[in-house]
Structures are given as structure tokens and as C-alpha cells.
């Protein structure tokens, strides 16, 4: 299964394949082939030779961080679950809806048993006896594959009562969602799994204390859980040697948009971003250059396609330092033929559609941002709209139950920050097409307090109009 041979340590970074090792082997989705490759050996070892505490210690030692978006250390999250005999739950978040992300789709479709094994190991570590895989409803093929694999695993005794003769029992089901981006947010996912509308809950209490049906719940992304068997096989400390100090292991990166070879690539964390975009994915199409890129799904702030940014190591901390985030590990590349205003509008419309409407800043903020961007598009805007938009984005951040508002505010805010000149040129050009005349960019207040407040205050604009 795993083959990070010692000899490979000095090899090219992208040659270490953990999750993608043998991924295209015919029949890997079936139990027989998976077992031939050493599958379920780690589950057996965990259940028969290790205590839950020892498994948890290995997960913690590996330093593996959540692959779903937030990047929280998995072992640490698992250790927050209280000890005791209460009903505990493990939920696998397979509601992969972040635009640009499709890693879990390929992993679940091709090697579903790795997920089941990882789930069982993690459930043992935290003492959960019920687990659910919440998969998005659109992934019909992957859900079917998972359900078939689950039937095989149950028949073989890897899931069910007293697995491998131990005291550990696990009940596992695949739960299909029905099309809602918000259900990828952990507390909204729990509400959805409880059969309610998918609205996020107030945190704290965090799901580790009060989650599914009020019980302690561990929620992890597909890719995170799939790492568990490999961590046990290698040993947590050995796993932690891959990648950088704070971003251990490999990451399956989904590269899409304006590149020649879009697809999933497994890289060691810390690999230069340029190597992923230009080396593996082939870079921008012939004759074009990279204008901007989302490093971690459409919720991550965009970075300009400058040399400095493209040379960033692709890991959690380097991207955070550069003002963006690794997120779900989805790189969307935008080339210089694409107007940034179109990208902003598309992104904002997505979040307006997917906002659940529970918190006002998000429900109203996404809506008005779209309206302002539509005005920019049609030529009814002035550069002041950009200031208002930036201030709306600023006020959406951190003021809601979940981070969907931030997920719109961050990319839109960063696009305005990095490409303000293009927005302004777009506004002027569109106004000219509409015969509206220029928008007096020189007289517009672009200070931190721009917006309605200044309009009510000093009559800055009256004087400005005379000067023209």
C-alpha cells in the first residue's frame, strides 16, 4: 500500500506518492485487490496490538493537519473528545463542494477501502462506535462505489460487531447530501445529518464536545482520514518527516482553470507552487501568462501571478504568511485573457446562492456585493462602489456563525486589493460604452472611511464638481 521507501527520500518531491500510490491499479476499489496491497493490515494491528491511546498518540505525532480547509491538526482535534462511555460519533466530511476542489472525488472513487480503514482506525482512537460518511448528493458514482465497498467490508468483518475479535464495534453508513455548499461546514453538516436544514450552529460548544445528536463528535475530511492507515504503517514520527515542520505529509492538490493539464496531483507539502502549476499542470496555455491564482479553492484570497508569489512553498504557513491560505488545496489558475471582474462576479454569485441566510451580514453582504459587481459589469458603477464593496467585505468577516461570509469577502477583497486598477479601468470603459462619462476617479475619496459616512459629512463632492 504505502511505499515511501527510504531511498526515495532524496527523490523529486512529487515522486513520493502516499495516497495516489497504485491509484490506477485495476480493481483497487474492490476488497481483494486492496487486501493484496496490504489493506486492512493497519486496522488489524491497531485493534489487536494497540490501545486507543497509542493510536491517538501516533496520529498526534504525525502532525497531520486537516485537509478540508481549516488546516487544524487532526490528532489534536481527536484528543479534544472527552473520555468516557457516552455515545461518540465520527463523521467523515465528504461534502466536497469548494469550487475547484475534486481530490476527494478521485480518492473515494478509486480507493474507497482506504477511507473505510482510515475511518475505522480513527473511530477506534477516539472510541466512536457510530460513523457516517456525509457525501454530497452530486457524487452519485462515488457514493455507489463507497456503498459497494462498505458491503464488502461488512461481509469481511472489518466493519461491524467486535472487529478482529476485539471489543471494538463500529456501525458505518454512507449518508448522501442533496446539494448545498454550506453543508460542508462542520456544524451545518451535523444539522443536515440530523435531518434539518443545513444551518451552521453557534460555536462553542465545538462538535468535539457537543456534536451529532448532542454527543462528542469528530469530523474529518476524506483525505485526512485516508492518511490514518499510512500514519500507522510509517509511524507518526516518520510521517512527520515528510513535508515541512508545520505542514507534514503529502497533499493532493486539485489544479484547474487556465492550465494545460488540470487534475489531481499529489505533492509533498512545501513544494514550490510554481512546480505544481507549471511543472505538473503544464502552466498557462500557449501564449498566455498567469494573471492570478486561488491557492486553496475559491474561498482563499487570490494571489497575483508574480514570480514572488509563484515561488512560494505550497504549505499551510507560507501561504498564510503571503496573505492567503492553503484551504482545501485547490489551485484555480486565471490567465491574462480573463477579466478579473468576471471572476469576481462569478465568485460572489456563488456565495450569494449558497448563503443559508441565517446570519444577516452574510445574507445581505453577499447579495449587495453581487449587485455592486453587476453595476461594475454594466457600467453603472463609480470607483466609490469599490470602496463600499471593500468595506462591506471587511464588515462581513468574522461576524457570522460560520465562515461562508469570510469565504466570499476574502477573495473579493483581495481581488479589489490586487487588481484595483483593472476594476477602475473596467468601470470607466463600461461607463463610456453606456455614454455616462467618466466617474471622476481623482476626486473620489479612497480613504479608510470612504462610503456613506463621508457623503453625509463634508461636502467634498460639491467642490470637486465645480473644479471640473
Amino acid at each position: 500500500m504505502t511505499s515511501v521507501a527510504a531511498g526515495q527520500a532524496g527523490a523529486q518531491p512529487d515522486q513520493i506518492q502516499i495516497l495516489f500510490h497504485e491509484i490506477d491499479r485495476p480493481g483497487l476499489a474492490s476488497l481483494d485487490v486492496y487486501r493484496d496491497l496490504g489493506g486492512y493490515a493497519m486496522l488489524k494491528r491497531a485493534l489487536t496490538e494497540m490501545t486507543p491511546e497509542a493510536v491517538l498518540a501516533e496520529l498526534q505525532a504525525s502532525g497531520v493537519r486537516g485537509r478540508g480547509g481549516a488546516g487544524f491538526a487532526m490528532g489534536k482535534k481527536a484528543s479534544f473528545l472527552p473520555k468516557g462511555d457516552m455515545d461518540k460519533y465520527l463523521v467523515c466530511n465528504a461534502d466536497e463542494s469548494e469550487p475547484g476542489t475534486f481530490k476527494d472525488r478521485e480518492l473515494m472513487q478509486k480507493t474507497p477501502h482506504t477511507l473505510i480503514e482510515g475511518l475505522a482506525i480513527s473511530a477506534y482512537a477516539v472510541g466512536a462506535n457510530r460513523a457516517y460518511i456525509y457525501i454530497r448528493g452530486e457524487y452519485a458514482l462515488q457514493a455507489d462505489v463507497l456503498e459497494d465497498a462498505l458491503i464488502e467490508a461488512k461481509a469481511a468483518g472489518y466493519v461491524g460487531e467486535r472487529i478482529f475479535g476485539s471489543d471494538f464495534s463500529l456501525e458505518l453508513w454512507v449518508h448522501r447530501g442533496a446539494g448545498a455548499y454550506i453543508c460542508g461546514e462542520e456544524t451545518a453538516l451535523l444539522d443536515s445529518l440530523e435531518g434539518k436544514r443545513g444551518n451552521p450552529r453557534l460555536k462553542p460548544p465545538f462538535p468535539a464536545i457537543n456534536g451529532l445528536y448532542g454527543g462528542p463528535t469528530l469530523i474529518n475530511n476524506v483525505e485526512t482520514l485516508m492518511n490514518a492507515p499510512h500514519i500507522l504503517k510509517m509511524g507518526g514520527a516518520e510521517f512527520a518527516k515528510i513535508g515541512t515542520e508545520t505542514s507534514t505529509g503529502t497533499k493532493v492538490v486539485s489544479v484547474s482553470g487556465c492550465v494545460r493539464r488540470p487534475g489531481n496531483y499529489e505533492v509533498v507539502l512545501g513544494t514550490p507552487s510554481r512546480h505544481i502549476i507549471e511543472g505538473l499542470a503544464g502552466g498557462a496555455p500557449e501564449g498566455r501568462s498567469i494573471k492570478a491564482w486561488f491557492p486553496g479553492g475559491s474561498s482563499a484570497p487570490v494571489l497575483p501571478g508574480t514570480d514572488e508569489m509563484l515561488d512560494l512553498p505550497y504549505d499551510f504557513d507560507s501561504l498564510a504568511k503571503a496573505g492567503s491560505m492553503l484551504g482545501s488545496g485547490a489551485i484555480i489558475v486565471i490567465d491574462d485573457s480573463i477579466p478579473i471582474v468576471d471572476v469576481a462576479l462569478k465568485t460572489a454569485k456563488f456565495y450569494r446562492h449558497e448563503s443559508c441566510g441565517k446570519c444577516t451580514p452574510c445574507r445581505e453582504g453577499t447579495n449587495w456585493t453581487v449587485k455592486m459587481l453587476e453595476r461594475v459589469e454594466t457600467g453603472e458603477a463609480t470607483p466609490m462602489d469599490l470602496d463600499i464593496m471593500a468595506s462591506v467585505c471587511e464588515q462581513m468577516m468574522g461576524n457570522c456563525l460560520c465562515v461562508l461570509a469570510d469565504a466570499m469577502a476574502m477573495p473579493i477583497g483581495s481581488m479589489i486589493k490586487h487588481f484595483r486598477e483593472e476594476f477602475e479601468a473596467h468601470i470607466e470603459a463600461a461607463r463610456e460604452r453606456n455614454g455616462l462619462g467618466i466617474a471622476m476617479p481623482d476626486t473620489v475619496n479612497r480613504g479608510a472611511h470612504a462610503g456613506p459616512e463621508d457623503l453625509l459629512g463634508e461636502p467634498a463632492y460639491a467642490g470637486a464638481a465645480e473644479a471640473h
Binding site: G100, F102, W173, K196, V255
Partner: protein
């Protein structure tokens, strides 16, 4: 994305200016004696309910089941699910209206979701949506919708046809999909996602001609243009 539908009085909420009828009895859990539910459907919903500690958790699977049975989440369909699950129809309606894939209005039998989110639209997803509409938009048996990211940006621009992912699509493919569905064939077999190997085995010119990997069993497609990583 969709234009907001408004009622005659200008509001998006029907009957906002009409007082509630307080003389009416409150909606209750449907009575099994007066709510006929097909046997198979009842068994299916009961099997879902058995998977969870709480009956409500089976809401989404149950609504999918009645949607498959009735074609959409009609009031009758929701009443039947509510009857088996011992919940009020209003509760299940609140769930059904939240999710994109549960339809509370009559729809065509073939669901065609064209992804028009950012990664697909960077590669022409919007044009594919237009082409799909002009190919099958007039046929009432098609439910063609523009959809948010379906999680298959590697085959962008793509669509989900009755749950089967196909891509990368061009305008001719849209016509083929419509013809395939009308003829009862599996849509655009050569471009289905189950045939796609891992990206590193692909080159800019397309996939290698040999060593085809068929992830799920099924007829293997031929030709070098199958995955068509279009050299843009």
C-alpha cells in the same frame, strides 16, 4: 443566478399580506389509514430510518426516495414520506426547499446539471450551458440547470447527466447527450469520468493510447481524444 420569482403583489413570499386562517386545524402528521403509501416505498424509507438514532436524520434519503418515485417532491410525495416517518409535511417541506437537488416543482425526468462555476466557466462552461439549453431546452422531459461546482474541474467544462459526470464538453457533445438520453443510452460514454486515469499519466496531447484504466467496470472507450485536455 436564477432570477428571483415574484408574485403579483411584488413580494417573493406568497400571501404575505393575507392573514393566517386561524379557524383551520394545525397541520398534523398524516394518518396512515387515509394516506396510501406504496409498499416498496414504505420499506425503502423504513430501511433508511433504521440507520440513524433519530428518525429525522432519514429526511434527505426519504425525500430522494419519494422524488424518484413521483418524479418530484410533490405535496403527495412529501405527505407519504411524512406519514412513514411520523413527521409533519411542513417539516419535510422545510428540508426539501433547502437543498438544490430536491425539487418542489414538477421537473423533467432527465436531470442535466451543467457546471457554470468558476473553474468550468474559465474553460467555456457558460457556452456549454447555452448549447445544452438550445439542444434540449424545449423538451419537457429535460431538467437542464446551471449548477454550482460539481467537483470535477479536471474535466471542465462538464455536466452531470442523470448523476453521471461527463466532460470536457463542447457544443456537439451537448447534442449527443440529448440524443443519447432520448434513445435511452448511457450519455456520452467516451467522456464519462469513470474512465479518467490519474492526471500524471496524461500529457498535454491527451492520454496515452495504451494502458487504459477503467476504474469501474464498463465498456472501454477508445481514441486519444477521450480526456481531451484541450490545449488552449
Amino acid at each position: 443566478m436564477a432570477t428571483v420569482r415574484r408574485f403579483e403583489h411584488g413580494s417573493r413570499v406568497p400571501g404575505w399580506d393575507e392573514a393566517a386562517d386561524l379557524t383551520k386545524d394545525p397541520a398534523v402528521v398524516p394518518d396512515p389509514a387515509s394516506t396510501p403509501v406504496p409498499e416498496d416505498l414504505r420499506y425503502e424509507i423504513e430501511a433508511y430510518v433504521a440507520r440513524y438514532p433519530d428518525v429525522r436524520s432519514a429526511s434527505i434519503p426519504a425525500l430522494f426516495a419519494v422524488q424518484r418515485w413521483h418524479g418530484w417532491c410533490s405535496p403527495t410525495a412529501i405527505e407519504q414520506a411524512a406519514c412513514v416517518m411520523r413527521l409533519t409535511p411542513a417539516y419535510l417541506t422545510s428540508v426539501a426547499t433547502f437543498y438544490d437537488m430536491l425539487e418542489t416543482e414538477p421537473k423533467g425526468e432527465h436531470d442535466v446539471y451543467v457546471c457554470t462555476n468558476i473553474s468550468c466557466s474559465l474553460r467555456g462552461g457558460d457556452q456549454v450551458y447555452e448549447a445544452m439549453l438550445s439542444a434540449g431546452g424545449d423538451d419537457p422531459s429535460f431538467n437542464i440547470r446551471s449548477f454550482e461546482c460539481l467537483g470535477a474541474c479536471d474535466i471542465a467544462p462538464m455536466a452531470s447527466v442523470n448523476g453521471i459526470y461527463v466532460g470536457p464538453l463542447d457544443e456537439d457533445d451537448c447534442r449527443t447527450i440529448v440524443e443519447d438520453l432520448k434513445a435511452g443510452r448511457t450519455p456520452l460514454d467516451a467522456k464519462q469520468i469513470r474512465h479518467r486515469p490519474q492526471a500524471t499519466s496524461l500529457t498535454a496531447e491527451g492520454p496515452p493510447a495504451v494502458d487504459r484504466v477503467d476504474v469501474a467496470s464498463g465498456p472501454s472507450a477508445s481514441g486519444n481524444d477521450t480526456f481531451g485536455n484541450k490545449d488552449m
